[in-house]
Amino acid sequence: MVFYTGQQLSYIKVPNIIITMSLYAAGLNAWSQLDFDTTKKDQQPDDIFTFTCLLEDKDIDYIRPFPSYTLVYTTTTPFSPTYTAGLVPKLHQQLSTSHPDHYHHFAEASNDIVVVPNHPTNPHPLQYPSLTTLLSPSSQPISYPTLHLAQVTPYATGFLALSPQNPTSSPGATPATPPSSPALVPLPTPHHPHPIPDLSSLPTGPVTKLSSSPSGCLVAALTAGHDLYLWGHPSRCSTWYPDIPDSPEPVVIGDDNEKDIKDVAVGQSHVLVLTTDDEIWGRGDNSSGQLGLGRETKLVTEWTRLKGEFDHDKKKIKGVWAGERNSFVVVQP
């Protein structure tokens, strides 16, 4: 912190006002993917059952939770992760060194299909049958030359993607589903991406964010007007969301009045929702502690307010992220 006073070139260092952001996380830690403290060497680390502050940095930008490791990006180096925790699979290591641009954007579905939504030299999405084929020099991806994608989220057998403009409907974000149909039907055969009709004209504006579970159970879409739409595969989430609709429907969260939703993140069998008044709500599996509800609670089948240190003093929450079986919350000053 540097303050200039008058014409004198003097400064005052303010020791306690260094503005930092905090990363809170809970859930699966089988590969130490929540241990950013590299001095810890535990052969069999336990899961973390309550939201715990794991990292502080002055500008945490976003998190990429992979099944066995976590990347934390800061605004200072937007294209390379500042912090890594956990075990990075060899194929991911190879990709990050041989195709850094792909690595930064790629999304991998549970059936191994990989999509690189955009790329500095190619603005159109590319699709590969697997990471192994992507890495082989002779790989021939499927290209979607008419498509521009802003965000891609993988699920069991394909992807959902946001395209920044849509020729058929109003300008703005419209979801399209590349290799699958909107009803989340397990069809691993590549289909041409097509828009989800139910999401093309919503009362509170276009979709701004998509998140989906790798198990194919649930998809979440957030609109510009802070409405949350959920839909999915009832049989795949029968334990924690048996009444999930099979086409997008708005969801009401909050005890008394309906909350506006700022962010959403879907894991394998859990979902986190961040409201505009900085509350976090969740439901689903907590057997690894992914909802931060302690060791005793294995499952919550109703929307539940998730509390933690990040709640104190009404801190401002920047966003939520979900790994398959863990959750991340970034708190800003």
């Binding site: 069999q44 099944p67 066995s68 699979p89 060899k90 549970s110 069991a156 009803a183 691993p188």
Partner: protein
């Protein structure tokens, strides 16, 4: 062989588990090339759990949670691919994690039933871990002392050595067993290990709490829960992951477990094994029971030193603290049994090794039929054609359906090992503990139809022997691959080894006939459909109505539904259009008219009869009473 029969089955199970864990690396190496496909994080996690299991006091709860993490990750992959496209690593990884979890549960269960067996295992591991901690200097010192000892007759001081020096030397080292090998260790090391073991015992006692009658009851319930968990873990691997190519290994474990579970808790006297009925859970009034408990908890410090002495002369005293002796009084360490092949399931089944019980006095399933449809166009019946007659029948351009009334008269399932008796079926399913997949709902095309996996006993009591609102049907399940003990009650008819002329395009040739079991209450329905195989449907218990439409009859097919090609299923519901069942959806008059025009043949299949369904024929099957059938597909 005789020695094996008399050996304590629980000890045998534990020895097997010890061997499995300690030799995990070689076990894993066989699977490693396939497992690679699952990526190294999950494989590392699996191997890590096996490594931790080989330690003296592993955290069982965390290991089980980690194995569940692997099971869940693999299981999710089953849904991400079409069955035929699933990379083989995922079924294998699921199975490997399930087998390891099975052993974790076995050790927990055994600790409750026979603590001294597990204490021996823990002691061994602690001794080894402590040995590993010895510094090179420390080892060198002990080694030198050993070298001097080895030259001397036992118990006598070396010449030129004063008795004081001799005494000092004996205080410095003692013989002990580490990892199955006798070595000398320092007395300090022994007391370190002893303290650790006592600490472990104290912790267990705290966990187990008081030993009042109520606690005893809780202990039994916990043991029963663990037993069900063990069966469930292996059965899910068989049902969901198809056994990952490890069917025989898993069948061997279930057989070992079933034998061990047939003994009452805390009783390992070998002479009582064969005579115990499997259901018995009552504790025996055995004098050794109390002695085992009290002596083993207060082992004198020098107890281990006795391992270097000759074994006790009385071979029957197998319950001597934690001494790992077999029935002949020989020392049995983890290494000693490691080369034992997996147990052959066929030899483990009590029916074969013992005098077959007489099942005739046991009650049969009810023959009650709530509804019997009329047979309007009967299929011809004949006793049993010769192979050549049948082959020429098959070779005709349009082979017709036939009922063979005496094709399977010698099946044990119809007589000596009666599938019509619930008690017999329970005896073959680990007292009903084995899991089976069941279809819930009237027919697989109905709304709300689902599948679930539940214990056989629960299936019987919920859906078969008591009236139930919803229908539960064990349908098209390869039950005999999962329960080989039932497979020996039937034989594959020779007729399945004929070679039919017309195999549908794109259907691969089956190397062996494919067997499926169909077991359900009255009113189960398999909607009108076709299969790409010739089919012999053998009725074992109860009666079924079957209606067949020829391939060219013009049956309207369903299309793709929810992403699944339903083209082998007809668009109309025979039961609804005939007025036997209530309509669940809308059906037009047009459809009804069209349906009534179609020609068909039908029959009611009686127990012991076999229906030949030629490939491509549409068939509608309806259980009239409690019914158990076996289908044989071949091409």
């Amino acid at each position: 062989m005789e020695k094996e029969e008399t050996a304590d089955p629980l000890r045998k199970l534990i020895d097997h588990g010890n061997s499995f864990i300690s030799r995990y690396y070689s076990h894993y190496e066989e699977s490693a090339p396939i497992l690679e496909g699952c990526g190294e994080p999950l494989v590392e996690l699996l191997v890590r759990q096996a490594q931790l299991m080989s330690m003296a006091t592993p955290d069982h709860d965390l290991i089980k949670r980690r194995l569940d993490d692997i099971l869940s990750a693999s299981y999710n992959k089953f849904y991400a691919y079409l069955y035929k496209d699933l990379p083989p690593c995922w079924r294998l990884l699921y199975t490997e994690a399930a087998i390891l979890k099975f052993w974790v549960l076995v050790f927990e269960w055994a600790r409750s039933r026979q603590p001294e067996l597990i204490r021996k295992r823990v002691w061994d591991k602690m001794e080894w871990e402590d040995f590993e901690l010895d510094t090179p200097a420390r080892r060198e010192e002990v080694h030198e002392i050993n070298a001097r000892f080895e030259k001397q007759p036992k118990g006598t001081p070396p010449r030129n050595m004063g008795s004081a020096v001799w005494h000092q030397l004996t205080q410095l080292s003692m013989r002990t067993e580490v990892g199955g090998v006798h070595v000398r260790r320092s007395r300090e090391a022994s007391s370190r290990v002893r303290e650790r073991l006592q600490e472990w015992q104290r912790r267990n006692e705290q966990e187990d709490g008081q030993q009042g009658p109520e606690q005893q009851q809780q202990k039994r319930e916990r043991e029963e829960e663990l037993l069900n968990d063990m069966v469930k873990t292996l059965d899910l691997a068989l049902i969901l992951a198809g056994g990952g190519g490890k069917h025989d290994e898993i069948h061997g474990y279930v057989a070992l477990l079933e034998k061990a579970a047939s003994l009452p808790s805390n009783d390992n006297s070998p002479d009582k094994i064969s005579s115990k009925p499997s259901e018995s859970e009552t504790p025996r009034q055995d004098p050794s029971l109390g002695r085992t408990r009290t002596t083993s908890l207060t082992q004198p410090p020098t107890k281990r030193a006795r391992l270097s002495l000759p074994p006790p002369t009385n071979p029957s005293s197998t319950i001597d603290g934690w001494l790992p002796l077999n029935a002949s009084g020989e020392l049995v360490g983890p290494v000693a049994i490691s080369d034992e092949p997996p147990v052959n399931t066929q030899q483990q089944t009590p029916i074969i090794t013992q005098k077959p019980p007489n099942w005739s006095s046991h009650p049969s399933f009810s023959p009650y039929e709530p509804f019997t449809p009329p047979v309007t166009s009967p299929i011809p019946r004949l006793p049993s054609p010769s192979l050549t007659t049948f082959q020429s029948h098959l070779s005709s351009p349009t082979p017709q359906p036939l009922i063979l009334t005496s094709l399977v008269p010698s099946w044990p399932a119809l007589a000596a090992r009666p599938w019509s008796k619930p008690s017999y079926l329970l005896s073959r399913t680990f007292s009903g503990r084995r899991l089976i997949p069941v279809e819930i709902g009237r027919s697989y095309v109905d709304e709300g139809w689902s599948q679930k996996i539940l214990p056989f006993s629960e299936f019987l009591s919920t859906y078969i022997t008591s009236p139930s609102e919803s229908k539960g049907y064990l349908a098209q399940h390869q039950l005999f691959a999962q329960l080989p003990q039932l497979r020996s009650d039937i034989t594959i008819p020779d007729l399945c080894y004929t070679s039919p002329a017309n195999r549908p395009d794109g259907t691969p040739e089956l190397e062996e006939p494919m067997l499926n079991a169909w077991f359900g209450p009255p009113g189960t329905i398999t909607p009108l459909h076709t299969d790409p195989y010739h089919n012999l449907l053998v009725q074992v218990v109860g009666r079924k109505y079957v209606r067949l439409y020829p391939p060219g009859a013009g049956v309207k097919r369903r299309g793709e539904e929810a992403g699944v090609d339903m083209g082998n299923t007809a668009a109309f519901d025979v039961g609804v259009l005939e007025g036997w069942d209530e309509a669940t959806g809308e059906g037009g008059d047009e459809e009804e008219k069209e349906f009534k025009r179609l020609e068909y043949v039908d029959c009611i299949l009686e127990p012991g009869e076999t229906l030949y369904i030629p490939v491509g024929w549409w068939h509608y099957v309806r259980g009239l009473s409690v019914s158990f059938s076996v289908s044989f597909w071949w091409n």
